[in-house]
């Protein structure tokens, strides 16, 4: 019987071409969108985690309230022992100190007079400790345009844009003017070890990256840091596990009303990422629902048209003693076959397009203005296991639903009318 049905489908373009076309378009879009959103969301979340929020972050309560302003006068103290504590208590995460600071970067001429000045966004991370993964997290090596990683204290990386704008070369000295933890003036010289470009406007405008110990001495922050970040060793953000760690940690300071008491926040709690996480989780579902809905309506109608065209065929089959149930079932089987064919075709097309968007990406350039949120300028799709099967859900479901709805007419058909209906 299946063979018989498949022959019918193959020979009757009305039965196959239009539905397969509709399905493969819908499936193509589902697959492409799902890969695209999965890529964009996961890139954004990864970037934010690596550059800004960590999977978990410890700050003082006061710092957390104004975290946007990087208020280092409210920084955590005795961070050495805090990090050691955290490593012990939550060994599933990697804990590391960071200082973010603002300041003025000054470039001197041969006589030592100011040649150029610009605002700098400073990142002090652990570059020198053996086993530190900070350089890898911040993707520094691939971002280096010229030069190399700082290899010793007193060296820095600066943004390539900045270096070009002010004609700073490798080995040149730049002076960072900032404020110490107690609000005093600070300045420190750094030798430019390399220049970097991350492809993220927030960083590329004027970043300076130095080792954490250099920043601690320059800013008078011995054994202090603005933030302690935790990253799961799996590199994957685990929402529920992060919540457990956060709850356990914060419980210890529940009854402490010191505004300098440490406070732990999850990635969700920072930079407005909660909405993005919710959105990223519901996006596939929403899209699939929309496609199922839209395609079902179209396929319902093509099914109704098909039912009209095949009115005599169904009549004969009923007269010949095929049960309505069985006739209906054979329509469903046809729709599964067509749904599968359309899904395979649509998935193949969607995967090809997604692969292109994964490898090449789309450059949104200056259109991306993320504020404090980290956003790349080039967005990419991400092909995962889901990309391969997600299209089959709307593809099959809408075809079967559409055909089932239109096929219900079979049950209303009166056998008593068959002789009359089949005589014209």
């Amino acid at each position: 019987m299946i063979r018989f049905l498949i022959k019918g489908i193959l020979r009757d373009p009305n039965r196959s071409v239009l539905p397969v076309l509709v399905i493969s378009i819908g499936v193509f879009l589902s697959v492409l969108f799902s890969a695209w959103f999965s890529g964009v969301f996961s890139d954004m979340i990864r970037l934010n985690a690596n550059f800004s929020t960590g999977h978990l972050k410890v700050m003082t309560r006061a710092y957390a309230e104004n975290a946007e302003q990087m208020p280092n006068d409210l920084a955590l103290l005795e961070t050495g022992s805090l990090v050691a504590d955290l490593q012990r208590q939550f060994p599933q995460l990697d804990w590391t100190q960071r200082i973010r600071f603002g300041g003025l970067l000054d470039v001197a001429d041969a006589e030592g007079n100011t040649r150029a000045q610009g605002m700098a966004a400073g990142y002090a991370v652990d570059l020198f400790s053996p086993g530190s993964r900070e350089a890898e997290r911040m993707n520094i090596m691939p971002a280096i345009v010229e030069g190399r990683l700082p290899a010793q204290p007193g060296e820095a990386l600066i943004s390539d844009d900045f270096a070009r704008r002010f004609k700073v070369g490798l080995g040149d000295t730049v002076t960072l003017f900032g404020s110490t933890m107690d609000g005093g003036m600070s300045f420190a010289n750094f030798a430019v070890a390399g220049t970097v470009r991350f492809g993220m406007p927030v960083l590329d405008r004027g970043a300076i990256i130095v080792d954490i110990t250099d920043a601690q001495s320059a800013l008078d922050m011995q054994d202090a840091a603005g933030e302690v970040l935790g990253f799961f060793k799996s590199d994957q953000y685990e929402e529920a596990a992060a919540l457990e760690v956060k709850t356990a940690f914060n419980a210890r300071f529940q009854n402490d009303d010191d505004e300098f008491a440490p406070l732990m926040q999850r990635l969700n709690d920072q930079n407005g990422l909660e909405e993005y996480l919710v959105l990223s989780k519901s996006m596939s579902g929403i899209m699939i629902f929309v496609f199922i809905f839209a395609m079902s309506i179209v396929l319902w109608n093509t099914g109704l048209l098909g039912g009209l065209r095949r009115y005599n065929e169904f009549g004969i089959r009923l007269a010949m003693g095929e049960e309505k149930k069985r006739l209906f079932r054979s329509l469903i089987i046809e729709s599964v076959v067509i749904g599968l064919a359309g899904s395979v075709l649509g998935t193949a097309l969607g995967l090809s397009a997604a692969y292109y968007l994964q490898e090449t990406g789309l450059d949104f350039g200056s259109a991306v203005q993320g504020g404090s949120m980290m956003m790349p300028t080039v967005f990419r799709a991400h092909i995962g296991a889901q990309t391969f099967y997600i299209g089959f859900i709307p593809g099959l479901f809408s075809m079967v639903l559409g055909n089932a709805l239109s096929g219900l007419g079979i049950y209303r058909r009166k056998t008593a009318e068959l002789f009359k209906e089949l005589s014209v």
């Binding site: 004969i316 008593a416 089949l422 005589s423």
Partner: protein, 238 residues
């Protein structure tokens, strides 16, 4: 003779407007195995309605109709489908072949419903096509056939499962004289070779000339029921 259809006090009423229209009125008939019988009468006399009920496509309003020992009024949908599938063949005024399937596949369909194995199906289909003289058209599509050939395929489709009864409503209405005679001779031969009971509803004089029994209906009543001895005419033609 073995009785295969028994009709006792059959009435069929259709609701029309506020009242009812009586399409069949206290009909009493019996049919034996191997009959070649026609229902004749003016338009609206109830011929199709009677075929519908015998074919278990419709139910009686009152009275008793027994086909092959089964009471039509008491069959479930599944049981009446089963009765049609196994024991009844239908031939319509228009041929109603499945356009995307070959002649072979059109005839084979009835056997697919019976879950017969492929080899048996093939044998039965080729035999049925031989009965109607269309073995050479097995792989043709309906669109490539003439009207007469199409109706012969429809006969093969009805006959392939060797049903006890074939019901045909105006089978010659769309055919010219030559093709009408051809398919009537085919059916008469099958009637004689396989002892299949044929029951026609017809206006066609050509059909009547082949019939062995003519039942005349008028306003839903049987007004005449005559049996005719074998025609010399047919013998000379077959």
């Amino acid at each position: 003779m073995e009785t295969i259809i028994q009709i006792h006090q059959l009435s069929k009423r259709f609701p029309v407007g506020n009242g009812e229209f009586t399409a069949l009125n206290e009909v009493n008939l019996t049919f034996d195995k191997g009959e070649f019988t026609g229902l004749v009468g003016p338009s609206g006399s109830g011929k199709t309605t009677l075929l519908n009920i015998i074919g278990s496509l419709d139910a009686p309003s009152s009275g008793e109709v027994t086909v092959l020992g089964q009471s039509i009024a008491h069959l479930t949908h599944a049981q009446s489908a089963q009765l049609r599938n196994r024991h009844l063949g239908f031939i319509f005024q228009t041929y109603n072949l499945f356009p995307v399937y070959t002649v072979f596949e059109n005839v084979e369909f009835a056997l697919l419903l019976q879950h017969l194995p492929a080899a048996e199906r093939r044998k039965a289909v080729m035999e049925a096509l031989e009965w109607v003289g269309l073995t050479d058209k097995a792989q043709s599509r309906p669109a490539q056939l003439s009207g007469g050939e199409s109706q012969r395929v429809a006969i093969a489709r009805a006959m392939v499962k060797k049903p006890a009864i074939v019901l045909a409503d105006e089978p010659t209405a769309n055919l010219d004289s030559k093709n009408s005679h051809h398919i009537l001779q085919t059916m008469l031969r099958l009637n004689q070779e396989l002892q299949t009971t044929f029951l026609f509803a017809t206006h066609d004089e050509k059909v009547m000339s082949y019939l062995r029994r003519i039942i005349s209906l008028e306003d839903g009543r049987v007004v005449k029921d005559e049996r005719i001895a074998a025609h010399s005419f047919i013998k000379s033609n077959s």
